[in-house]
């Protein structure tokens, strides 16, 4: 075999080799390491089989963190989708001015580029009783006569962490939905209008089909993001009061970096991976089906 032929034969391997090695180092190795870790006692190195996986069934905080995480995902993603879409429809139909729309774009991008930690710190100050702006405003408007302890009771703490997520990510839904609405052919809209279609029918039968796949994509992104919500929660409530806002990600952090129980943390991470895989497979199937239709 000539040198040129040898090089030609080796070229594909040389090209594919580095990314495969990189993938192995960054994905496969940590995954394998995690499996080994989850089957051992991290402190002693002793093999414990599925003991760490069984521990979750006797772990009240793990179970309550699943409940808190699901509540958070459903409320955050649900409100962001409805509010973002509603706002996009309103601007699309009622605000024709290019200048106003440009200003709105700018305003909507600001929350998204704010680091979640900074958003958490600011929100913490805003929600503080006594001198927090929210209580001051409510008192000023005569809506309350004593301060609401936003971050110190379970329902209001959940509301507070949700509000930061919604403030930050509702604009993302708005921007995607608004861009999608621009792609709806105006002749079809005009034809529907002349046939007597009202606002709701226009949306349901003309605009929504154009937006459907985009909204599903947004849903996938937002569910992924809310599943691993961490930064602003840690700053705002630290998972409290009690375990009220201790989401799976916060609990996993606590087990791994406070308890240093890395084996148990590895086992929990596999449960999270399994749950996330099921959710995303379902969403992906839905997305593919809708795209084909």
């Amino acid at each position: 075999m000539t040198a040129a032929a040898r090089i030609r034969r080796l070229t594909p391997y040389l090209l594919v080799g580095p990314p495969i090695l990189l993938l192995f180092a960054l994905v496969a190795y940590p995954m394998l390491y995690n499996i080994v870790l989850s089957l051992r006692n991290y402190r002693t190195g002793e093999f414990v089989g599925l003991h760490n996986f069984a521990r979750v069934f006797d772990d009240a905080i793990f179970l309550s963190s699943i409940k808190a995480t699901l509540t958070y995902i459903v409320l955050a993603v649900g409100i962001e989708l409805v509010a973002g879409l509603g706002l996009a429809l309103f601007i699309h139909r009622k605000v024709p001015s290019g200048l106003v729309r440009s200003l709105l774009y700018l305003l909507m991008i600001l929350p998204m580029v704010t680091p979640p930690v900074a958003a958490g710190v600011i929100a913490r100050l805003m929600y503080t009783p006594n001198y927090g702006i929210i209580n001051l405003a409510l008192r000023g408007a005569g809506l309350i006569d004593r301060d609401i302890e936003w971050l110190s009771t379970a329902p209001t703490a959940m509301f507070s962490v949700l509000s930061v997520d919604i403030w930050q990510w509702m604009p993302f839904v708005f921007l995607v939905a608004f861009a999608g609405l621009q792609a709806v052919p105006q002749d079809i809209v005009e034809a529907a209008k002349s046939d007597g279609a009202g606002g709701w029918h226009l949306f349901r039968y003309i605009e929504f089909p154009y937006l459907q796949s985009l909204l599903l994509l947004v849903l996938v992104f937002r569910v992924t993001d809310t599943f691993r919500v961490f930064d602003h929660v840690l700053v705002l409530t630290g998972g409290g009061p009690g375990s009220a806002t201790e989401f799976l990600s916060v609990y996993l952090y606590r087990v791994a970096f406070k308890f240093f129980d890395l084996s148990y943390a590895a086992a929990i991470s596999f449960y999270i991976l399994a749950a996330a895989s099921v959710v995303f497979t379902l969403l992906q199937r839905w997305l593919v089906t809708e795209a084909v239709m």
Binding site: N41, R43, T44, R55, A60, I61, T128, P129, N130, R146, D147, E149, W150, L151, S152, T153, A154, A157, T237, G238, G239, G240, P241, G242, S243, A244, E246, R254, F257, K258, F259, F260, D261, Y264
Partner: protein, 432 residues
């Protein structure tokens, strides 16, 4: 001729490097000592004395600053890799069990022959020693040789503050309640007592002195969990009902910043305090309305007369992997010496020596030094010396916080915390 010239250069270099150091048999001066430190007020005094060290010794000390949680992670990563990244470090005292058990630090006694100084409170040496010289020893550490690995630089200890223009110095918790009742008026607003009640470390730092003063403990001398006791329930009930009724709304999410702000703005009359919060906020005329109005005292006693001031020193230590151990040790000796601790204190540092804390000149400027000395001499209580402390703190901190927020009753919170701590300690191999 050339040899004579070179010999002359060597002699000159030795002379310039200082005859005393040459006599001590120190290795050649390193270009610099790299020191990992926590970012924040704790290093204010250190920064003030560094130019003195550099001028005196001719060795630069480079500070690498990290926020509190990051510092721990960076140190552990460097230790696990056995990397000579840092020559010196400053560590929070609850980290000692982990660092000591893993053997990551250089013993200062056997390696350098450190001699104890009677001017330093015994509790300081106890903190830097591993395995712990008193109290229960973790099962994996029994039988290990005991060494001194670290010496305090920041003499942090928790004590009590009160508005001396409004109330008298409380000696017991009953006095605290009486004081609170006297001044509490939410309409002003002036609150009788402010609680740092956020989940985890904040609320545990606040609750531990109460728990101990009521005669309760988390572990016995064999690490058996004895938290679920009537004393502990009484302490938590007192904390979440009797004290909380005089606290501002929302304290279940208050951390140190919120507490100091309440006091500095004249809205709270009593509470616990750590020294750095005093120098940074409470007695800082640029942000505080109560400068000169605060009194400082030892943590109040429970009905049995017991007090539980909590210690939280920052310790200087030399990593085992350091390439400049001897010079790092020289720095520790120098920085903790009585000669340097005075300018250190005047520069905003929190000192720890008896002679400095009782110095009359310094006490005029820093009124809380007497309370600090009394707290360190009490002696101050430490967090149980186990690598599992962070887990214990997180578990107890969740339930105490839940009780403070009214989500759990004191009885439930204590029972749940005790059961979860026991489960954790079992997993960690503390029980057969």
């Amino acid at each position: 001729m050339r040899r004579v010239f070179l010999a002359g250069v060597v002699v000159m270099a030795l002379l310039l490097s200082g005859p005393s150091l040459a006599a001590q048999g120190l290795p050649p001066k390193p270009v610099r000592l790299t020191m990992a430190v926590v970012a924040g007020g704790e290093t204010k005094g250190l920064k003030a004395i560094l130019p003195m060290w550099e001028k005196e010794m001719g060795v630069k000390v480079e500070l690498v600053e990290f926020p509190y949680p990051t510092l721990y992670e960076k140190l552990v990563t460097a230790f696990q890799a056995n990397a000579a990244t840092y020559d010196l470090l400053i560590a929070d005292d609850p980290w000692m069990p982990k660092f000591g058990a893993e053997g990551w630090l250089t013993p200062l006694d056997t390696e350098f022959g450190y001699k104890r100084d009677p001017d330093i409170f015994p509790v300081v040496y106890d903190l830097g020693t591993w395995p712990p010289p008193r109290g229960p020893v973790p099962p994996t550490e029994k039988g290990k040789a005991r060494h001194l690995y670290a010496i305090t630089l920041v003499g942090n200890v928790e004590f009590f503050m009160y508005r001396k223009d409004l109330v008298s110095a409380p000696r017991t918790w009953n006095d605290v309640i009486a004081n609170a009742k006297k001044v509490h008026d939410p309409n002003k607003p002036l609150y009788g007592f402010v609680i740092r009640g956020a989940k985890g470390n904040p609320v545990i730092s606040e609750f531990t002195p109460v728990l101990l003063s009521f005669g309760a403990r988390i572990f016995d001398d064999n690490w058996k969990v004895i938290l679920n006791s009537k004393e502990a329930v009484a302490a938590l009930r007192f904390f979440t009902k009797d004290l909380k009724q005089y606290a501002p709304p929302g304290v279940a999410n208050y951390d140190a910043a919120e507490r100091a702000r309440e006091v500095a703005t004249g809205r709270a009359a009593q509470g616990f305090i750590w020294p750095a919060e005093i120098t940074d906020i409470v007695e800082n005329p640029s942000v505080s309305k109560v400068v000169g109005k605060m009194g400082y005292a030892l943590a109040p006693a429970g009905s049995g007369g017991k007090r539980g001031p909590l210690i939280g020193n920052w310790l200087l230590a030399v990593p085992k992997a350091s390439k400049n151990k001897r010079w790092a040790y020289e720095f520790i000796l120098w920085a903790t010496s009585a000669k340097v601790q005075k300018p250190y204190a005047l520069g905003g540092g929190i000192p720890f020596r008896r002679s400095i804390l009782t110095d009359s000149e310094l006490n005029t400027k820093f009124a809380f030094f007497t309370a600090m000395a009394a707290s360190l001499a009490a002696p101050a209580e430490w967090r149980p010396r186990t690598q599992e402390w962070f887990a214990v703190e997180a578990i107890l901190g969740t339930h105490v916080n839940a009780a403070l927020a009214g989500i759990e009753t004191p009885e439930n919170a204590i029972a749940k915390a005790a059961a979860e701590i026991e489960k954790h300690m079992r997993e960690a191999g503390y029980y057969k």
